[in-house]
């Protein structure tokens, strides 16, 4: 719960968080080391100085840390934990759905755990989707289209194998598909983060919601164009939001574009924890105003009502969270420092 300076209580759903293990013990090879190093550079580069962590904590943080940073210190009411496997880089996966589920089971009222699959695994991917639904009743998945898999350095959502997986998700009611389309961290494929494949998939799978994480940046214009055409395409603010500290004017320009093209109902807050912690992001976001000249150019501005949608109500709608009921449930189970 975020309490505004004038005392209002805002329901916060953090749409993009991780519970990863990037520690040296889990690294399979140099790529694993370089991957977590790159995340750490994002963390140190865009966080305010007082929010930076030391490397060892960043590589692997505890179940208590995530709970504390999101819900005790942080303003989140609920958090969606994404699974980014990167099996070619990490022995047990960078994100491991079993490990995440175990962590989340301590506070089931607060966490929604999303799974992941790789369409290039063929039949095995389909079996795995069945397993995820039947065993863990997942509601969403995180897809990383630039993930390496043997000789393949990426895939597209409109590849036939990916369509088979999406068909199955549709059938089983796994409705929320978070797609990483962002900065080129692993760009060996010509452009595995190109956003146009989302256009095809969103048209062909009207029951699914496609949340494009990082808004497709640095392809914001392509993404906005697609999100305008497709009613089931949403923007995830992970990685975009921290610019609010380092480059506020730039952040204002991006928000103006998103509000102008997508409107306030299709933008989702995400801290990308543990790259960033939600406390400072939400505090800064609540008081942020798009600079006057940019706002005038696009005829849009952030209002409290719009901020409330972005911070929680939009994600609640996608995940079927009854906000009033959730508030009551959480009030009955107030946050506490986890028992040893």
């Amino acid at each position: 719960m975020y309490k505004t300076p004038d005392g209002r209580e805002i329901f916060v759903v953090d749409g993009h968080t991780h519970f990863w293990d990037g520690s040296p013990e889990n690294q399979r090879n140099v790529h694993g080391k370089q991957f977590i190093d790159c995340f750490y550079a994002y963390h140190t580069n865009l966080s305010p100085p007082e929010e930076r962590w030391e490397k060892s904590k960043f590589e692997k943080y505890s179940e208590d840390d995530i709970y504390n940073d999101l819900f005790v210190e942080g303003p989140d009411d609920m958090a969606i934990v994404q699974t980014t496997v990167l099996g070619d880089f990490y022995k047990k996966g960078f994100g491991n759905v079993e490990r995440t589920i175990k962590m989340a089971s301590r506070h089931p009222e607060r966490f929604i755990v999303n799974g992941a699959f790789d369409p290039r695994d063929g039949e095995k991917a389909l079996e795995y989707i069945h397993y995820l639904k039947e065993t863990h009743n997942i509601q969403g998945v995180k897809l990383y289209t630039a993930e390496w898999n043997g000789d393949s350095k990426g895939y597209k959502l409109n590849d036939p194998a990916a369509y088979k997986c999406l068909e199955l998700c549709d059938k089983l009611g796994i409705r929320n598909v978070h797609v990483h389309k962002g900065p080129t961290i692993i760009p060996l494929n010509k452009d595995a983060f190109d956003v146009h494949d989302v256009d095809y998939a969103a048209t062909d799978f009207q029951n699914l919601n496609f949340i494009v994480e990082h808004c497709g940046l640095p392809r914001l214009d392509d993404f906005c164009w697609i999100a305008v055409q497709e009613t089931n395409v949403y923007a995830g603010l992970a990685v975009v939001l921290p610019f609010i500290h380092a480059r506020p004017r730039y952040f204002g320009e991006v928000m103006a574009e998103l509000l102008f093209w997508l409107g306030p109902d299709k933008i989702l807050f995400g801290s990308d924890y543990a790259i960033w912690t939600p406390k400072w992001l939400v505090e800064k976001f609540w008081t942020f105003q798009i600079p006057e000249d940019i706002a005038a150019e696009r005829g849009v501005q952030l209002t409290d009502e719009i901020r409330e949608k972005i911070l929680g109500l939009n994600a609640a709608r996608l995940y079927g969270i009854d906000v009033e009921a959730a508030k009551a449930r959480l009030a009955a189970a107030p946050v506490s420092i986890a028992a040893e």
């Binding site: 370089q34 140190t44 100085p49 930076r52 900065p183 060996l188 010509k190 640095p218 730039y250």
Partner: protein, 264 residues
């Protein structure tokens, strides 16, 4: 940034040529971005340039283009006998350096990796974006000088050449815009319109708002990369070290300590 006063004349020559090599994705000189790690000049006129990118994962396409730019610019110096380019700490470093040292062209090295796509296509795509970004900087500066859309739409190449801009970013971009405008053949004669789009279509007062919208979109995308790359380059190889939660000397040196902690 390199202190050029301590350099030999030949080293200074090399650094001046390197100022002309841009990161194609960001349209900023490699020397400004801090990507050039070292330059060494041998007695026989052989030059070694080492460069490093913000992350291990930076796009190989762009890395190839930058290496090619370094090789061509430095190789254009009359006294240079041989140029070696060395990319460091990159996932494709071994392959690229091997190609350079064997004297193979980058296009040949690329041929082994068809998934990287066509280098010429990538170069053209980003040259267009560079053109647009420079154009926007100039147009915005002219607007703050009080020029109306109809005024800039009517402006010719020779009028733009005589214009003086005071904003430092615009003053930096104006010669860069003029250079790319001529290089792409979009304005060559004195009376040619100064602000065509990348396909040569002219600017009109009625189309001004739409043009600015397109240019803004290009810049927003490029700035995202630029801001990340500069920051990542700065923080790569650095770690925050805290003992008992207190900042250490290293934190102070790197200006990582918030003001309220240093004040006491």
């Amino acid at each position: 940034m390199q202190d050029r006063h301590t350099l030999t004349p030949r080293e200074r020559d090399v650094w001046s040529r390197l100022d002309r090599v841009d990161d194609p994705e960001l349209d900023e000189p490699l020397t400004d971005l801090g990507f050039i790690e070292a330059v060494s000049v041998g007695d026989a006129g052989d030059v070694l340039v080492c460069f490093r990118l913000p992350t291990y994962w930076c796009s190989p396409n762009f890395a190839f283009l930058m290496a090619e730019g370094i090789r061509d610019e430095v190789g254009a110096l009359p006294w240079v006998s041989r140029v070696a380019v060395q990319l460091e700490d990159h996932m494709c470093a071994d392959e690229m350096n091997a190609a350079v040292n064997a004297g193979r062209s980058f296009s040949e090295a690329m041929a082994l990796r068809p998934e990287l796509g066509d280098l010429g296509e990538v170069r053209e795509k980003f040259a267009r974006k560079a053109f647009q970004r420079r154009q926007e900087a100039v147009l915005l500066a002219l607007r703050t000088l009080g020029l109306k859309p109809a005024d800039v739409a009517a402006m010719t190449l020779s009028q733009l050449e005589r214009t003086r801009l005071h904003d430092p970013e615009a003053a930096r971009q104006l010669p860069r815009y003029l250079e790319i405008l001529r290089a792409r053949g979009l304005a060559t004669a004195e009376c040619d319109p100064a602000f065509p789009d990348p396909d040569g279509r002219g600017l009109t007062a009625a189309g001004y708002a739409e043009r600015m919208g397109e240019l803004r979109a290009v810049r927003i995308n490029m700035e995202f990369g630029g801001a990340l790359c500069r920051g990542l380059k700065e923080t790569r190889y650095k770690e925050v070290v805290r003992i008992d939660g207190e900042p250490t000397l290293v934190d102070f040196l790197h200006d990582r300590v918030p003001a309220r902690q240093t004040a006491g």
